[in-house]
Assembly symmetry: C2
Homo-oligomer: 194 residues x 2
């Protein structure tokens, strides 16, 4: 019993996700969040708890809604296809929305005051988890013969992630899709072959 919720929690989550994407965790104030969600402050608190929990929900949604190309890419037959698929999907994601460029994770992982440290740690872990998935995929490729014996799966994964992070920074700095594609091509130019 009791009164029904008058706003769509999923819609509100989509809205606050975009705010966090654009401004980062600390840069997003409740004034921004309530305006974007079209909902007053206490409603956000009752739906999500505090700001940190709300960011966690937004991060989960980011992964399942915008980073869904990652698990799909890992299933491609060759590591070159894996890397290519990830790079080009990341470029698209980083430049698709003019008002929130770059990557939600990278935009929030770098700077900020001490009180944002727990959130930063969550983002660091998320970044590391993605890299670990890549490394495991490349280790498998090495066992399957898709990568040469001299290849270092950990270094390849770290390199690919570095290029992705760098492109996220460049996208935030206003890079065009074409320029990012040139960066991706250069990164792929000497991908180790069997």
């Amino acid at each position: 019993m009791g009164r029904h919720r008058e706003f769509d929690v999923e819609k509100a989550l989509d809205a606050v996700l975009c705010v966090f994407w654009r401004k980062g965790y600390e840069g997003a104030s409740y004034a921004d969040l309530t305006e974007a969600a079209g909902v007053e402050r206490p409603a956000l608190y009752s739906a999500f708890g505090n700001k940190e929990a709300m960011f966690g929900r937004a991060l989960d949604r980011y992964y399942e809604r915008y980073l869904d190309y990652l698990p799909k890419a890992l299933q491609l037959p060759t590591t070159r296809e894996v890397a290519t698929h990830i790079l080009y999907n990341a470029i698209d994601l980083n430049t698709r929305y003019a008002d929130h460029t770059g990557c939600l994770v990278i935009n929030g992982v770098l700077a900020g005051s001490d009180e944002a440290e727990p959130v930063r740690q969550v983002l660091i872990d998320a970044r590391a988890a993605a890299e670990a998935q890549l490394r495991e995929r490349f280790e498998r490729a090495k066992a399957e013969g898709d990568l040469p014996e001299t290849a270092r799966p950990d270094a390849l994964a770290a390199f690919l992630m570095a290029v992705l992070h760098g492109m996220a920074v460049q996208a935030k700095a206003g890079f065009s899709r074409e320029m990012l594609e040139a960066v991706a091509e250069q990164a792929l130019s000497t991908w180790p072959a069997r």
Copy 2:
């Protein structure tokens, strides 16, 4: 005439530079800055003006004191030496101080509230200027025959910057020097030869 300044402005600038490096522009509060500088608030205001101007002074100092390897690298004979020198000096800079890892520019360029937009724009411009210097150097190399005719100086410069930015993110996430060196090696393996 008048009373003398009792603190060393240069020392104070070094101190606030480290705070900005670690926490970014918005993440650094005056409480942090005064504590690090060992100087009360009005002294910082009289010496540097407001927070934005103080950050600008810190950024200038960062370039002349920590990024001095960049102009030196541009004078090396081959583009491969240029890229190698920059990558390894960046790794050293990004991991040298455990309490402020990564890069001051990249740590401040990404997210933040709207009122930090002017500072963000300054950092974006600084990033673009460094990339332009690289591009011009690579164009020269192409004319000199150090790079093949098929090489794209703009793409090479953007790629090198992307790897640098990515390594700055990874350093902030706790990467070891050895892992970053593996990333740099992988990046250099794609470098075009004459």
